[in-house]
Amino acid sequence: MIMNINISFMVIKAGDTMNTKGEAVVSIRDLAMSYGTHQVLRGINLNVFQGEIIGYIGPNGAGKSTTVKIILGLVDGFKGQVKVLGEDIADGGIEYKRKIGYVPETAEVYDTLTAYEYLTFIGEMYGMEFKLVDQKAQKLMALFDIADMYHARIASYSKGMKQKLLIISSLLHNPDILFFDEPLSGLDANSVMVFKEIMTDLAAQGKTIFYSSHIMDVVEKISSRIILINNGQIVADGSFDQLSQKCREGSLEEIFNQLTGFNRHKEIADEFIAVLGEA
């Protein structure tokens, strides 16, 4: 029975209302990608418009990070077309990257550098004036309550501090499109509140945000549009209200379960407990 429902929901389209918002900021056509014989993406079609906060969700290995990495030019060898701000990324231009900010899920940083050195370096990579980056970086660090760490090596940072640094480094150049992959990981509750507020304000300013996370309540609350990807395909696309109406489920978590065809959580947990008890 469940399977049938799934098929009928294969693509829940938010409808054509979206297309009236002018030209797409990011447009993806028939995007496919495979690593060796393993096909990660099987034809993604997506138009993203200015000011949207997109909750980009899906099970582990569904192809979320791959999509983002392709858009950023980190992964080659994809099929299909990806346009960012009207520029086809396959043309090899790098100008579009000036408008993008990125917080990767597992981020690498040059951690023998201090925040001062790292942030000014990154800023200069975007062609910013050294002095300006320095000032901005210092102020942003202070706002995130880590001003005293500005001249400490990143290696000595706690997980939360490092995450704050990554967020700052992705925003320094005031980009128009943002890709956040689990940006809240390691942040304390107060910082989380600050960051959510920042995202809402950025979107209000007309910036576009791709927000990828496994924490469904957060995605549910902040996203203006939710895209669920499963097995390399988009299986749902729409606002939370639209999705919950169509799926007749009350929370994004339940919608997620339903659309990914997963309903065995209770069973699995029971079995798990049973195995623990084995002598």
């Binding site: 980190l74 790098i94 100008e95 990257k97 000036r98 993008i100 990579m125 975007y126 090596r153």
Partner: protein, 557 residues
């Protein structure tokens, strides 16, 4: 951030980079960051412990290369025709640079971190790649200079300024060529195997290099004893295939004014091949190579058929050698860790090889000038030269302390959360595993060779030496600070230094050898000695493992 002299030097050539469409200011900034980080390449745990001497490890290795450079410099003094001399010198230099490239710069060449950090930014790939190439070449050139600096000076005095200029210029070309060849090699490996395999191969090359350095030094003195053969020289087509001839030819051409077509052709090759290689590297190799690098962090999880059998044998051995369940678990754990720890192998294998060859090096020194093989064998069989095995014992006994180092030392927190009353099973299991995995096989090999040389009658002596070796090993274990296996990073030395351990090992082994030698003159002396040593060893075994958690030195955490 420091402004490096190299970068200022590079500024003079900035027009060149603009010509090949590299964003020079951005590239310069990337290089500056890379060089700054290299200076700080000190493990993080050191930063809050002892005062750090940053950049020291690099300078220390430069010193080692300097010693080798000394010999190449000496070589330059030999009154050979310049062409041969340069062939020899470049042969050594190219070998060393290639080996260094593989052992020290693989990390830079194979690094995907830069790509992950820089590619999302508006920096084009060409600029990133040029920065990477320059980064490697700058370091490689520094090392090359320390290897060939003395040769340069000697040449400068002997042949004048022209020599020095050609030499310097060619060193840069050699560096470029070496980078090209290394990346081609890696590319080939990565096309067929996964990243883990490549890392293994690099590890083995590193090990070979250290063995070469360690054993090579023993031989260098002897090179100069060789009678200098009179060399005759005929140009042949295959000379064109040997890179050293390309680089040696310009010296003949410009300094000895030997302008035959042969030398002109070779000199051209010296210029053309590295240049072509660099262009090829920038345009073709890098894009392809970077694609392959994505494979680096993946490993195909094909199940190893041999693994299942190995586990069975290990389990059987563990059941025989260990008594408690904890000890068995640690025996097996240590065996597994030892086979996968690349950094540990890098330190351990050269020592083990050294232990293997040391007695024979000494024997060849003593016997040296005897004429016939049969003569040597007869001499050996009737002598007490098998006592040279104690040299191996000195080294083998000192290696056991190495198991406390690991590149995965951060994983050691697990020991402290385990509900174990005493650390003894951990230590016992680990030590037993180490002895079984490394010490016994190496010792058996040495013993076998000595039995072949000296006859079966030395078997009791070899048994005695083995027992004495284990005794010394336990003594060192007892005297040294107690550390859990794989508990600390390599750079951190706690307890006795390696030198101290070697000294104790040498002293006690020497003493054992002396007692052994004296008792060989007494009837049944060796048997008596075996009983005695066995007794001491057993007492030591019990005493050494009288350890509580409090005595264990805390590692990194």
């Amino acid at each position: 951030m420091k402004d490096f002299t190299v970068l200022k030097l590079l500024d003079k050539f900035s027009f060149l980079f603009k010509k090949i469409e590299v964003d020079y200011p951005v590239m310069r900034r990337i290089l500056q960051v890379q060089l700054t980080m290299d200076e700080r390449r000190v493990p993080t745990i050191l930063t809050n412990q002892k005062k750090t001497q940053s950049g020291n490890s690099f300078k220390a290795s430069l010193f080692t290369y300097g010693i080798l450079g000394f010999f190449i410099g000496l070589l330059m003094l030999v009154p050979f025709p310049l062409y041969y001399l340069m062939n020899l010198a470049f042969g050594l230099i190219i070998f060393m640079v290639m080996a260094t490239m593989i052992s020290d710069f693989s990390t830079v060449l194979l690094d995907v971190k830069d790509k992950n950090i820089l590619l999302p930014r508006p920096v084009d790939a060409r600029t990133i790649n040029t920065a990477k190439l320059l980064h490697i070449v700058i370091y490689l050139f520094t090392i090359t200079m320390s290897i060939s600096g003395l040769a340069l000076l000697v040449g400068l005095f002997k042949y004048g300024v022209a020599f020095a200029l050609i030499f310097m210029f060619e060193l840069v070309l050699i560096c470029c060529l070496v980078v090209f060849f290394t990346s081609i090699l890696y590319m080939a490996i990565l096309s067929f195997f996964d990243g883990e395999k490549l890392k293994d191969m690099i590890n083995y090359i590193q090990i070979l290099l250290s063995i070469f350095m360690l054993v090579g030094y023993q031989f260098i003195g002897r090179i100069f004893n060789l009678k200098l053969l009179t060399v005759t020289f005929h140009p042949a087509w295959w000379h064109f295939l040997i890179p050293t001839t390309w680089f040696a030819a310009p010296f003949s051409l410009f300094i000895e004014h030997n302008s035959s077509q042969y030398f002109i052709a070779l000199s051209l090759l010296a210029l053309v091949v590295p240049t072509a290689a660099t262009v090829l590297y920038m345009t073709l190799v890098i894009p392809y190579f970077e694609g392959k690098l994505q494979k680096l962090n993946s490993s195909s999880m094909r199940a190893n058929r041999g693994a299942a059998v190995r586990v069975k044998i290990q389990r059987a051995a563990a059941n025989m050698l260990c008594f408690s369940r904890m000890e068995k678990a640690f025996y097996q754990f240590t065996q597994n860790m030892l086979s996968n720890e690349r950094k540990l192998k890098l330190q351990l294998y050269p020592q083990l090889t050294f232990a293997l060859v040391m007695p024979f090096l000494m024997l060849s020194g003593i016997i040296g000038n005897r004429v016939s093989w049969s003569d040597i064998l007869v001499n050996l069989a009737n002598s007490k030269l098998y006592l040279a095995v104690y040299l191996s014992a000195v080294i083998l006994a000192s290696t056991a302390t190495m198991i406390s180092s690991s590149e995965n030392y951060r994983g050691a927190w697990i020991y402290r959360v385990l509900p174990t009353e005493s650390p003894v099973p951990l230590l016992k299991g680990a030590l037993k595993a180490f002895i079984v995995k490394y010490i016994i096989p190496i010792y058996l090999l040495i013993a076998l060779i000595f039995v072949l040389l000296c006859g079966l009658k030395i078997i009791p002596d070899l048994i005695l030496i083995f027992i004495n070796m284990i005794m010394v090993l336990l003594l060192i274990f007892k005297l040294n600070r107690k550390e859990l296996p794989f508990d600390r990073d390599f750079q951190v030395t706690q307890g006795m230094s390696r030198m101290g351990i070697m000294l104790i090992s040498m002293l006690v082994c020497g003493l054992c050898a002396l007692v052994h030698l004296l008792l060989t003159y007494v009837p049944f002396g060796v048997i008596l000695n075996i009983v005695l040593s066995l007794g001491i060893t057993m007492v030591l075994w019990c005493k050494s493992f009288n350890i509580t958690w409090k005595e264990i030195v805390k590692g990194a955490i």
